[in-house]
């Protein structure tokens, strides 16, 4: 149990996928203008990363390794993730229109998100078993959500500040992201 807890803390704070591994930076800048949209995106990411890592792990274990085709990993993952997200979208739209409206446009947006692919590949590279994969993927996604919502909160406050003209918009966002990453690096000594 402690092991899973450590894995969780490590994935959320220490090895935060956004701020320590710098994966998934496009939505980090793109959908962080408002906390509400950031929350929606975060939920969709948690959902998709957890499910897709399960399936990619299984595809490696039961398909690629027995056939000795590990070198096809990346390309196979892309296919699998894309199919899965499409399926999930169809499924949710039918089963839970409310959830569909909440996740809305974010689902198709993260079909080819590098964070999703990245988490899947890290799972394989670290030779996690199924449970570890599940916990790690979920935690990494929560870490993504945390960073995204924090960042959106800061950017919302930026809107009220008197910012020098050259720094407005993306430039300040990038500086903030850097400072946030620096802050997160303080978690390095935690484990």
């Amino acid at each position: 149990m402690t092991e899973y807890l450590l894995l969780f803390i490590s994935a959320v704070f220490v090895n935060n996928i956004l701020l320590a591994q710098f994966l998934g930076n496009c939505p980090f800048i793109g959908v962080s203008n408002k906390v509400s949209t950031a929350l929606g995106m975060a939920m969709a990411v948690v959902f998709v990363i957890t499910i897709s890592s399960m399936f990619t792990w299984m595809s490696v274990k039961y398909l690629l390794i027995p056939l000795e085709l590990e070198y096809l990993q990346t390309i196979a993952f892309i296919l699998i993730i894309a199919t899965l997200v499409q399926f999930v979208e169809i499924f949710i739209q039918k089963v839970s229109p409310t959830l569909f409206r909440t996740l809305g446009i974010y689902l198709p947006l993260i079909t080819t998100n590098c964070a999703v692919l990245g988490v899947s590949i890290i799972n394989i590279r670290n030779e996690y078993d199924f449970m570890h994969t599940l916990v790690h993927s979920f935690s990494a996604a929560v870490g993504f959500g945390l960073a995204l919502v924090l960042f959106a909160g800061i950017r919302e406050r930026h809107a009220l500040c008197d910012i020098p003209k050259p720094l407005r918009g993306t430039s300040l966002a990038l500086i903030t992201a850097g400072l946030l990453a620096l802050t997160f690096s303080a978690f390095k000594g935690l484990l």
């Binding site: 085709l69 296919l79 499924f91 089963v95 446009i105 008197d162």
Partner: protein, 688 residues
């Protein structure tokens, strides 16, 4: 080597085929029924999924349009071209869709407003609003730091010289970004349709007159329009809240003038004569100035009663695209406007023109059809999507005195006025006595004079100050020759041979119990007066017999309705005007009509029809000018409304008051202070 490539390609191909098949099956299994129009519409939209419309992607926007939640001009990116294609798919006429425009609800920039302190912090309204609201005395004033200007992506806003944002109407595409960015909710999207449905809220900046007007007319705006010579704009503004400007311009008791800020210092603006001026401008132009009519919705509404409240409701429902039919029991439409107000105050030709305007809006009026006789409420509820009841207050209250029912010379005020309206000119004796102190009593008294009665007395049980009739009516009546007997209540009608001879009355005194003074009889002080005709006008109420127990009533025998929505206990049935209020004024009937139309429209769309959170049910208290700001006097006194000669007044039913001429109107309009709730034009001193 070749082999391994073949294997890899084969495996990937297999995964691909499997995925495709899987998705194909899933798509079929989990297929949801979609309106084919949604797909067609999605094709018509730009497909950028930009989200600028406020919906998550073009598919969601298309869905919203099909469900009627959004208009065909939803796509901001595609502009008019896309709107036209979308309109084609939906089969509606795009030109009928009126695009809202950002409109500012504050007229005084920081330089001209009353300030609490100087704000020198971050140049952003949202930041400024966090510091005690940003420095203005009023809580809803524009802070002028340009947050909305920066929020606009289309360059439709700029900060003007007076520190207020200026909207370029041609560039505004109604995206609502400015509205969302304004911390005070001052800049808002506004269109005719939105203004028609608007109910005043306590968080808006309202001039005292505007907030006091039961119809909630934007009075400062129409007066400004008159001052600028834009009479068309003036009448348009009035008609957004009151389709009866000709009528109200003549008979309204104008509580607005009592609230006028200029009245605190010299004399109030002649608000009502100015309304009459604008209304007569339209009539003399012989051209109907009507608001945009929304595209037809296919919903049908029945309105019972063609008085001011019923026709107002019909007018605004029709403006919103519904099909409205009005049922009227009398042979001609107009209700109490026709049968209760004498010609010298409101000529029938003027009323006919006004009702013509309602008909021009698309309302159908069917006369000689009474509820309870020719049609029933159940029948209407079945055939129509909603019903609005405005059958007025036609039942007169009895005096409850001895001999009341014994003589033909005693009649009710309503019956008397109805005879006049039908063109009859009843012969009156020399001594006519009217009982009552309201406007109906005044109408009866002044009409009696015109019918040639030598002496017209008005008996009222309280004193002059307590009379419910409009003050100018009481004064005009006195000028024309009515003799008032205050503090007198009738107790017995005496006659011989079925003919009325005299009236015994009790003298009263007033007792103060806080509130309205109560009349108490002075024991033994009984007077007697000679009477040939007695007209009782001591109050009137609705006749609910046609409805039986179908609708809940109040203890005053009026229909019980929800405040602000006019809904009765029956879901589909709404009621307003005198029918719900008892004897009230035209302008209050107009208010109910518009409130009812708003509620019915929302009800038919399945939307929440509750009043807004900060709904202003009663006008707020304006306690003079806040903060010691002085109103500067004008050189020109209040305009005298021209009237016809006294000799002509008491001998004919010709209209007494004459419309202001253009010069008078402009001069009077220029006296207006253009008040906001706190700020006004040309005050002396700047800081409190």
């Amino acid at each position: 080597m070749l082999m391994s490539i073949a294997i890899a390609a084969g495996i990937m191909g297999a995964i691909g085929v499997f995925s495709a098949a899987f998705l194909g099956v899933a798509g079929k299994v989990f297929a949801i029924v979609r309106d084919p129009k949604v797909d067609e519409l999605e094709e018509a939209l730009v497909g950028a999924n930009c989200g600028a419309c406020g919906y998550s992607g073009c598919a969601a926007a298309a869905q919203a349009v099909v469900e009627g939640r959004a208009k065909v001009n939803v796509c901001l990116l595609g502009g008019a071209e896309t709107a036209e294609r979308a309109a084609e798919v939906m089969g509606v006429d795009v030109t009928a869709e009126e695009t809202p425009v950002a409109t500012l609800g504050c007229n005084y920039g920081v330089d001209n407003a009353h300030l609490l302190f100087d704000y020198r912090g971050i140049k952003d309204c949202r930041a400024a609003a966090m510091v005690l609201g940003g420095g203005k005395v009023c809580a809803m004033g524009c802070l002028g730091l340009g947050t909305c200007v920066r929020a606009c992506n289309f360059g439709a806003l700029r900060l003007g010289d007076n520190g207020l944002p200026v909207v370029d109407k041609d560039k505004c595409i109604a995206c609502g970004a400015c509205e969302a960015s304004c911390p005070k909710g001052i800049i808002k999207l506004s269109s005719t349709q939105l203004r028609i449905a608007h109910q005043q809220e306590s968080t808006e900046c309202l001039a005292p007159c505007e907030a006091t007007c039961p119809a909630q007319i934007d009075i400062p705006l129409y007066i400004r329009s008159i001052a600028e010579g834009d009479y068309r704009q003036a009448i348009t503004t009035i008609k957004e809240h009151n389709p009866f400007p000709l009528v109200c311009g003549r008979v309204c008791p104008h509580p607005c003038e009592a609230a006028c800020r200029r009245g605190d210092h010299d004399e109030p603006i002649a608000i009502n004569p100015l309304k009459r001026f604008a209304a007569d401008y339209e009539m003399n132009l012989n051209e109907r100035i009507l608001p945009n009519r929304a595209p037809s919705t296919g919903k049908k509404i029945a309105v019972v009663g063609s008085g001011p409240s019923g026709l107002t409701c019909a007018y605004y429902l029709s403006a919103r695209g519904h099909e409205v039919k009005v049922f009227e029991a009398m042979p001609k439409p107009g209700g109490m406007l026709r049968y209760g107000i004498p010609d010298y105050r409101l000529p029938q030709s003027v009323l006919d023109w006004e009702i013509g305007g309602v008909e021009a809006m698309g309302v159908e009026i069917q006369c000689n059809t009474a509820l309870g006789k020719d049609i029933s409420l159940e029948q209407l509820e079945e055939e129509y999507d909603a019903v609005y009841l405005a059958m007025g207050a036609w039942k007169s209250r009895a005096m409850r005195i001895e001999g009341e029912d014994d003589y033909p010379e005693i009649e009710s005020g309503i019956a008397f006025l109805e005879k006049l309206a039908k063109g009859e000119r009843p012969e009156l004796g020399d001594e006519v006595v009217i009982v009552g102190g309201g406007n109906t009593a005044m109408d009866c008294a002044r009409s009696s004079l015109r019918l040639g009665a030598a002496n017209v007395y008005l008996l009222y049980r309280r004193s002059r100050a307590e009379m419910p009739a409009a003050v100018h009516e009481v004064n005009d009546g006195e000028f024309e020759g009515i003799q008032y007997h205050f503090l007198s209540a009738p107790i017995r009608a005496v006659g011989t041979d079925n003919s009325l001879r005299s009236l015994e009355f009790q003298r009263m005194r007033l007792e103060d119990h806080g509130g309205r003074p109560k009349p108490v009889p002075i024991e033994g002080d009984i007077g007697n007066m000679k009477v040939t005709n007695l007209i009782a006008a001591i109050g009137q109420g609705p006749d609910l017999t046609a409805l039986g127990t179908m609708v809940d009533a109040t203890k005053w025998e009026t229909v019980l309705t929800e405040i602000g929505t006019c809904q009765t206990n029956r879901e589909k049935t709404f009621a307003g005007g005198d029918f719900a209020r008892g004897g009230a004024t035209v302008v209050e009937g107009v208010r109910d009509g518009r409130d009812g139309a708003r509620a019915i429209h929302l009800f038919l769309n399945g939307e929440d029809m509750n009043v807004p959170e900060n709904y202003l049910a009663k006008p707020p208290k304006f306690t003079g000018v806040k903060g010691g700001f002085e109103v500067l006097p004008t050189d020109t006194p209040r305009v005298e409304v021209p009237v016809i000669e006294k000799s002509e007044r008491v001998s004919t039913f010709a209209e007494v008051e004459i419309t202001l001429n253009e010069e008078q109107a402009k001069q009077e309009a220029a006296r207006c202070l253009q008040c906001g709730e706190v700020c006004f034009k040309g005050h002396r001193g700047k800081r409190s």
